[in-house]
């Protein structure tokens, strides 16, 4: 077990100008579950592969447990990785797959078998130890990939979208199991996903990346309540935060016809106003709008309301709890209940 540090780590793929990961600074504590999240092409997988040693580091450094591993080959980093497609060795049985790393380290056969059995017990794989990967279901293969990682007792677990090949129901179940397993083992874990729900539910802290640059690292709660910039605000949360551009020189801040409380410190120009769907309410007062889409989820509904804002059309998504009898094309009023987020013209958060 160890802490992990990225210190200005940069990766520029050969033949490209722009860094896939641009001077990443990140401290991951011992035993922490850190999630790297971002849209595709954000550099999250590259960042993980840099830690694994599968990607050359063009600038800065990476260290594991205080040891600079920037130039250390993967086999000497004492890490374990779970791949998106599991990468099980097709010619080996489940037991051999799990024991492969131990064998490479020259661990005795009996000891190897003992540790494989232990890990198999944890993951409920005991009866499959003699099977080949092709004779396993997707969920079982995923567990074998996990088993291969935990049997090594490595310093760090690296996981590259390990759940994305599972069907929706199994994914949710495995998500919980995985978080629970990590907490029990207490091994530092770096987990890559593009799914912000996975990031929020599993991570102790979540690092949001975009275009190779770190946007924000925070606990899920803080990421949700105080996003550092416009991008994080829009990326975290489902459905996304309503982000409406405002004209900086237009007098008092307004969303449609509704005034926005909490003016920024003087002199800062507001470029965007953000408000989460649960902080809006359909009622008898507020901004005039027309319902365009209703997403009924049973316990709640998300109502899309077209409003007029600064002379152009915008859509606000409003959460409506309980059963709603609103119809498409109804005229409604949207009231602002909770806090609004303000972002400058550069997209950065403006504290109120």
């Amino acid at each position: 077990m160890a802490d992990v540090t990225y210190d200005g780590a940069t990766r520029i793929y050969p033949g490209t100008e722009i860094a896939a990961v641009d001077s990443l600074d990140l401290d991951i504590a011992d035993g922490e579950f850190l999630v790297l999240v971002g849209p595709s092409g954000s550099g999250k997988s590259t960042a993980l592969r840099m830690l694994a040693g599968l990607e050359f580091i063009d600038g800065g450094s990476v260290s594991i447990g205080g040891r600079d591993v920037t130039l250390t080959p993967p086999q000497d980093r004492d890490i374990a990785m779970v791949f998106q497609n599991y990468a099980l060795y097709p010619n080996m049985t489940v037991a051999a797959n799990m024991g492969f790393a131990l064998k490479q380290r020259g661990i005795e056969k009996e000891e190897r078998a003992r540790r494989v059995r232990e890990a198999a017990k944890v993951l409920d794989l005991e009866e499959y130890l003699d099977r080949k990967p092709k004779n396993l279901s997707g969920g079982q293969r995923q567990r074998v990939a996990m088993g291969r990682a935990i049997v090594r007792e490595p310093q760090v677990f690296l996981m590259d979208e390990p759940l994305s090949n599972l069907d929706a129901k199994l994914r949710v179940q495995t998500r919980t199991e995985l978080a629970e397993l990590q907490a029990r083992l207490g091994v530092t874990t770096v987990y890559v996903t593009h799914d912000q729900v996975e990031a929020m539910t599993m991570g102790h802290r979540v690092a949001v990346l975009r275009d190779g640059k770190l946007q924000q690292v925070a606990r899920p709660r803080d990421l949700y309540s105080t996003p550092a910039n416009r991008f994080v605000a829009g990326f975290i949360g489902s459905p996304a935060m309503n982000l409406i551009d405002v004209d900086p020189g237009n007098g008092p801040l307004q969303l449609g016809t509704a005034p926005i409380t909490g003016a920024p410190a003087s002199g800062t120009a507001v470029g965007t106003v953000g408000v989460r769907p649960e902080h809006l309410r359909l009622g008898s007062t507020g901004i005039n709008g027309r319902v365009t889409v209703i997403e009924e989820l049973g316990s709640q509904a998300f109502v899309h309301v077209a409003i007029e804002h600064e002379g152009r059309d915008e859509v606000l998504v409003v959460r409506d709890e309980g059963e709603t009898d609103i119809q498409r094309n109804d005229n409604v009023q949207v009231g602002i209940l909770g806090p609004c987020h303000l972002f400058g013209t550069d997209g950065e958060r403006i504290d109120q």
Partner: protein, 284 residues
């Protein structure tokens, strides 16, 4: 309803039958000469040369004839021994060189790997006839004509480009993550190759080896030009049964059948390996 499993949706029954029939005719056309050769080998010369008969008294006399050693002539045993040694060693050499080459052209591609690949195949552009004179001169100067070593070198060179090309495409099918997983699991390059890559590409290696064996076994031109006295191979032995004193079709058929057998056996042995699918269940 599942009896017609091979039926394609929307295809009429009639066209299925016609296509099937055409396939059978094509296959039989290709197979017939081989069938006739085997048959002729068991006939008396007079039957083989007269009007074709399917029903006859089979005899193994022709086989005795062709395998009997005649003083001063290339014998069956000598030719087969030469061929076995030359084919086995050259194929082994090809694999020893082609496997690392394929690795460095696919799994960890070197810079300009496309150019390297083109260079390999470009060596096959030159017709072998155009090279025979220099080969002969060099061969005689270094004592490589009429020796097994000469043909081993030439057959290795002849098959290497093809083997590199074939193996490269098989190696390219190995999922990159598997090699990375092995790396993270602590395997060095040797461990990655022997424990992970080779078992997956084994069918491909078997297929490549089979082709090398076939090409080397059947090679005639170089053998007859360079090794007509010593170190002669099976194709030379077969052609030595072509006589100027008459048409001994049955005897020639027996010799050809014997020459074909090792390739058929090699093909059968390799097929068992090749059938196993590539990288099944490796990912997802």
């Amino acid at each position: 309803m599942s009896t017609e499993r091979s039926q394609i949706v929307g295809q009429s029954r009639r066209s299925t039958i016609i296509l099937g029939l055409a396939a059978w005719i094509a296959a039989l056309l290709v197979f017939f000469p081989i069938f006739w050769m085997v048959l002729n080998g068991f006939k008396e010369e007079i039957d083989a040369n007269s009007s074709p008969k399917l029903i006859f008294d089979p005899t193994s006399d022709r086989y005795t004839e062709v395998t009997t050693q005649t003083e001063g002539l290339l014998g069956f045993q000598e030719a087969f021994t030469n061929s076995f040694v030359i084919v086995a060693i050259s194929t082994l050499l090809v694999l020893i060189m082609a496997i690392p080459a394929a690795y460095s052209l696919s799994i960890r591609p070197i810079a300009k790997w496309r150019d390297v690949l083109f260079f390999f195949i470009s060596t096959k552009f030159l017709p072998i006839v155009a090279a025979i004179l220099p080969l002969y001169i060099i061969g005689t100067r270094y004592g490589l004509t009429n020796s097994r070593i000469g043909l081993v070198i030439l057959y290795t060179a002849m098959n290497l480009p093809l083997a590199v090309w074939m193996l490269r495409s098989f190696f390219s099918e190995v999922p990159k993550e598997l090699v990375e997983a092995a790396q993270i699991d602590g395997a060095g390059i040797r461990g990655q190759i022997t424990s992970v890559i080779l078992p997956i590409v084994a069918p491909g290696i078997a297929a490549t080896a089979l082709l090398c064996v076939i090409f080397a076994w059947n090679e005639f031109f170089l053998a007859v030009q360079l090794n007509s006295v010593d170190g002669s191979t099976v194709p030379i032995w077969v052609s030595s049964n072509v006589s100027t004193r008459g048409n001994f079709l049955a005897k020639l058929s027996a010799a050809s059948t014997l020459a074909t057998l090792p390739v058929v056996i090699a093909g059968w042995a390799a097929q068992k390996r090749m059938i196993r699918g590539l990288a099944m269940g490796a990912i997802k």
